[in-house]
Each structure stands twice: as C-alpha cells, then as structure tokens.
C-alpha cells in the first residue's frame, strides 16, 4: 500500500486501503490472527493427514498412509462386534431344533425378530412383505399348506426349496393333461367344473358334472384324493378349501389342467446360515398358519 493513500477513518480509528467507491471507504481489516493461525494449522494438519491416512488416488491404487487405516477393516470389526453381541443367541438359534426355539420365550423373540428381517430381504420379493402371497406364490399366513405346515416341513422347504435342480428339493408335478394328451381336450371343461363344485363354488354353464366326477376319480384322485383334499407328500393342493394359487375361475382351472403347473422355489441352505433358516422357519410358522 502506497503511503500517500494511508488515511485513518474517523469513526473506527482504523486505517483505510485508500480505495473509495461512491464515498464508501474500504477499511484495512486484516484477517484476525486466530483465524489465520487456525488456517495455517489446518494446512499442517492436512499434510500430516496425507502422510498418515489413505489419501491420494493413483492410477490403479491409492496411497495407503503410514497408520495402515482402512475403512473396510473398521466395517469388519463392527461386524465382528455385532456377532459378539448376538453371540449366545445366534449359537442357540443355529443348533436348536425349531420346536425348542418356539418353546423358549426369549429365543422365540430373537428368532421372530431375526426371521422378520431375513424374510423381508430374501422372501418378500415373491411372497410379499407380509407373506400375503400373490398369484403363483402362496400366502404363508393361512393354514392351507402345499408341502406341510409343521416346523419340520417348513424347515425342509426353506432349506432345499421346491422343484429346483437340488435332488433333495420338493418334487411332484401337476401333469399337463391337455397338452400331453392324457385327457381329451373336450373333457377338460367338465373336470374343471367338477373341481369348482368340490371347492363349493357356483358352477356357471352347461357342464356334465357326472362325467367330471368320473374323470376326476380316474385321473386326479391319486394325488388330490377322492374328496380333493390334497396330499402334501407330492405337493398336491387341497382343492376343497377354495384357496387358489393360480385362480379358481373356470378358465384358469382349464388352463391348469391343460398345461400343468410347476412353481419353483429356490433352496436357501447355500445362501443362509443355519440360525437364519431356523429363524425363518419359526417366523413363518408363527405368522398364524403353522401346525
């Protein structure tokens, strides 16, 4: 600042820079010392940080820093800590039979909480957040089970799945009676009408129910039973309950009879640990329909 510009402002008693715009003078207010020193300290801190911590990205890697800090290690430590907290309960959940878990109020609470979370992540995409099901994915709240609703049945289904490449998975198919020529196409509507009658539905249209009943006894009763009550060993649904996986209207039943059905559920033994599978078993069982 040239000396001839140095003037002193009367009000504040501070020197000015000599710049004047429309009569407004610019006071010479340097940065406060404490601010300036903090700024210098942050620079020193920044240099220290770059040396000590991972900081600068390189082409394929990055500078690691002298302290060996890595955020992934921190996450792993946190996960270990979580395991330690859950510890005893998780061991018990993994080793105990589901029936034991249900009998122990404390374990039951843990299993239901863990099961609910696991269900939301793994099962809800097909079965729905509340396990309410959807077309071709069964509702797990009711007591109408395709493959059995005991704790052991449910655990078996979750572990190995249904009709998948795993040899231990549930097997059993609804044949394609129409497509494969097992039944004449003209007879199928009569069988479908009889199935509707079994479920207690009103049958619309002119169908020969006697013929339907005869054909049902010859072709369907082997799996579904004479009264259509189903057979969980082969996953044959109870046709008398009027609870439908694909639909109970005449056209849908005709389609089922014609092309067969074979819904698939993956097995979870490879993806979920024993504790989670037990928790899911208990959770699904206690949704209300468990036997």
């Amino acid at each position: 600042m040239a000396a001839e510009h140095d003037t002193v402002d009367k009000v504040t008693g501070k020197s000015t820079t000599g710049h004047v715009w429309d009569g407004i003078k610019e006071l010479n207010n340097p940065l406060p010392a404490w601010w300036l020193y903090l700024f210098y300290i942050t620079i020193v801190w920044g240099i220290g940080y770059v040396i000590a911590y991972p900081a600068i990205p390189l082409a394929t890697t990055f500078t690691k820093g002298l302290l060996g800090y890595a955020s992934r290690d921190v996450i792993e430590q946190d996960m270990e800590g979580l395991k330690a907290i859950r510890g005893e309960s998780m061991i018990q959940l993994a080793s105990a039979e589901p029936a034991k878990i249900v009998a122990d109020p404390k374990l039951l609470g843990v299993a239901r909480a863990l099961g609910k979370a696991a269900f939301g992540t793994n099962c809800a995409p097909c079965h729905g957040q509340g396990a309410q099901g959807a077309r071709s994915y069964p509702n797990l709240n009711d007591d109408n089970w395709l493959w059995g609703g005991t704790l052991a049945d449910i655990k078996q289904t979750i572990t190995h799945g249904i009709r998948n490449e795993n040899a231990e998975s549930r097997q059993g198919n609804m044949p394609a009676f129409g497509r494969d020529g097992l039944l004449p196409k003209a007879d199928i509507p009569h069988v479908a009408a009889y199935v509707q009658k079994l479920a207690g539905r009103k049958v619309d249209g002119n169908f020969d129910l006697k013929k339907g009943e005869k054909l049902f006894a010859e072709n369907c009763a082997a799996c579904h039973g004479d009264a259509g009550k189903g057979m969980i060993e082969v996953g044959a649904p109870n046709l008398a309950a009027d609870i439908w996986l694909y639909g109970g209207d005449h056209a849908t039943i005709v389609e089922t009879l014609t092309n067969g059905r074979g819904g698939v559920m993956p097995g979870w033994s490879g993806r979920l640990d024993a504790a989670t599978i037990n928790a899911l078993t208990v959770y699904v069982h206690t949704l209300g329909g468990g036997r």
Binding site: V20, G23, L108, R112, Q132, D142, A241, G288, G289
Partner: protein, 487 residues
Amino acid sequence: MSAAERLEEPEDEVPLYAKRREVYPQAVSGVFRSIKWTVLCVTLGIYYFLPFVRWYRGPNAPDQAVLIDFPARRFYFFFIEIWPQEFYYLTGLLVLAALTLFLMNALAGRVWCGYLCPQTVWTDLFYAVERMIEGDRRERMKKSREPWDLERIAEKVLKHSVWLMIAWWTGGAWVLYFSDAPTLVRDLATFQAPVVAYVWIGILTFTTYTLAGFMREQVCLYMCPWPRIQAALTDEHALNVMYRYDRGEPRMSVKKAEQARSSGEIVGDCVDCNQCVNVCPTGVDIRHGAQLGCIQCGLCIDACDNVMAKVGRPTGLIGYDTDANAKRREERQEPVYRIVRPRTVLYAALIVGIGALMLVSLLGRASLGVSALHDRNPLFVKLADGSLRNAYTVRLINKTLEERVYRLELVGLPQGTHIEAVGTTVSGERSVLAEVGPDRTRELRVLVTVPKGITEPSVPLSFRLTDIATGAQATVEDFFKGPGSGQ
C-alpha cells in the same frame, strides 16, 4: 479534491459497535448480598449433590432420586416415573416455569435474573474467586494496568485453575443426572466411563468457564431474550430496584452538601460516591433508571445503604420501588403497593390450575395399558375351513415394578370366534394369559379367527386387558376386516 475529502463524516454520528468496558465489581455486604449468598449455596448445593440422593424403589428399578435413564427410556423424579409417551408432563412443567417467571416479574421484576439465573449464580461465584485471589475492585483495576510480573502470572494461573475446577465439577455433576451417580464417579475416576460422559463434561466445562469467566454480563446484555420479553411484560406496579430521584437530587459531594445545607439550599441525599456503580456486576448506573443492563440483584441497595448510614442520612435511597410510586412521590403523595392485580391473580390462578391438572393426571394415570396395530398386508386371511383370520400386533404395558399376569380378552364378534397369541397360554376361547416383566412392555402377535359366514367388510372389536391380581383394566378398540374391505 478527492471524493474522500469532499465527503465529511458528521461529527455526532454514533457507531453501532461499542467496545466492551471491563467490569470490576466491588465487594459489598448487606441484606441483599446475604440473600444472594444463601440462594447461591442452596441452588448450587441442589445442583451438585442431588444426583447422590437415593430413593429406594424396589429391586427392579434404580435407586437414584433424580435420574434421566436414556438407555432404558425412563425419567425418575423421587416417587414419579415418567415413560417416553408421558413426555407431555415436561411440557406442563415448562408451562408452569414460564408462568412462574411471569408471576415473579409481575411481583418484583427481574427476581429471576438477579438471584436465580444460572448465569448470575455462576458469574457471582467466579467473581468471588477472582476477588479472593486478585483482590477487590481497586487492586484488580490497578493490576490490569500494570505490566506483567511473576506474582501476577501466579495469581492468574491460580484463578483460572480454580475456575476450571468449578467448571469441571459443573460438567461432572451434569452427567451424573444421566447415570447411577456413585458408579459413574468411580468409572470417571478410573477412566472407564463411556466416552460420551467425558465429552459432555468437556462441553459443560467449556461453557461454564467461558460464560461465567469471560462473557459474564455480556450474556445478559446481548444474548439473553428474557430482558427484552420482560420489558414488554412488566407494568407500573411491579417492584424494581430504583433510585429515588425525589430524595437524591440534586446530588453533590458530602462537603458541598454540608455547605449548601447550612445556607438553606435544597440538597439531595445522593453524595455521588459512585458506590452503586462500583458494586454492580453488570456495570450500570442505577441512577439512570430502569434499564436493560440492570439485573436487579439489589447489590447497589446494600452499597448505598452502607454509605447512607455512614453519612448519617436515612437508608433506602436505592430500594425496591414501583414506577407508580416514583410518580406519586414526585407529587408528594404516599406510596401505594398493589400486589393483588389482575395479572398477578391471573398468573397465580393459571399456575394453581395447571399444577392441579398435572397432579390429578399424574396420580390418576393407569399402571397398565394396551395398544393394537392391525396387520396391513394381508388385511385378512382365509383358512382352509373357510373361516377368516385377522392378525394384530398388540402391545401390553406394565408400569409397575413387579411382574404382572394379564388376561387379554376379545370383546365383540360372533359366537365361535377365538383368539390366540404367539408365545402365550390360551385361557378359554376368547382370552389368553400373558406375563409382562416389571416396568416393561410386551409385544404379542394376536390372531383372531372368525368362523365361516361373516360378510361385513369391517366389524368393530376391542381388546380388554385385565390385571389378574388387581382387576385393573384397559381397553383398545380396533376392527375385524373381511372380504369386501377393499382387498
């Protein structure tokens, strides 16, 4: 001629910025000083030692009289235990506190500021330490002008150490309200306390040290909203610390006053000794009248009374007085004190009313409770035999300190309806038994099954909770949803 030279600044322009004037309050003794010492001891004593007071509640609850238990989400105050959903009691307390502040203001102005406010109390304590170590007003002023020497450095170090210790203890006492005090003290001493405890002690040490040691009267002058609100709430009948113009003026020194009196002139009692300014913790001159900076602590009354006694004039030149009386005295009328006024009656009535309301609701509150949340997805489930089922998440509340057995009973819905709940014993078609631990809640998954034949989309029902031992009851209403309810 440059632009700067042409534009002359007006000479009488007052800048908006005022530099702080350092205040060096002088020691004083008297009635109000004694009151202030007493209030200081009582309030700080309560604050520092209350966490150590024990209150036995039984084996299932902490035995600390006042405890804010965040992990367990409980607030204990002697015989009262507050759950988070009863937080409205705090709202009630805050309303009561505000009304009490208004009532104090209507009766005697800024009583709060002068005697009770933490800023006043801790600043007073810090001034006492300063005075003890560095000497009284004159010495401190003299020392502040002199160059540094070893003795002064030693004094400063000692003063700030004592201040920091008080501040640290203040922070330490604060965290004791949030955990079992004796345990936490031991953990703090052995460096095993949670980090959050040390952080909060640090924060409160810092705020106490800066607010009471450095900012002092500036908090009242620039930061605190109460002086602004108070000025809008006050009236001419509120008692305030006031200088009696009618008696004091014209003021002059003792010598001049003697001469003037002997020659028969009118002489005021004020001898202009400035003692009232010297003792003031905010550095105001009370003789300028009521002002924002005056916290009405009454120390100038003590100082003036001492001087009046010495010069042989009646005391009370500065004292508690009302604006209305100041006017009356000027007109040579007797002072009138009106304590019972519409606003004091209104504030008192509101305090009593709200206090009674809170007390009644506190004493009458139920120790059990029930709430229900209907499953949203699915709203209802059809079972194999055609019956319908709804599921509910029902929460049972036990606010007592013993385990209780509840019967949860279904009321409403047709014959043949039954309920079950995961993890409970069934006791009859329509009820289940559930134990709930002491001072706990329990969440149940409750299934209500109605036999085939229900056609309405929505049927009202209620869950009735009964304590088996005492017969106390609570009820919550909900609905049973069926086909046609929109799904």
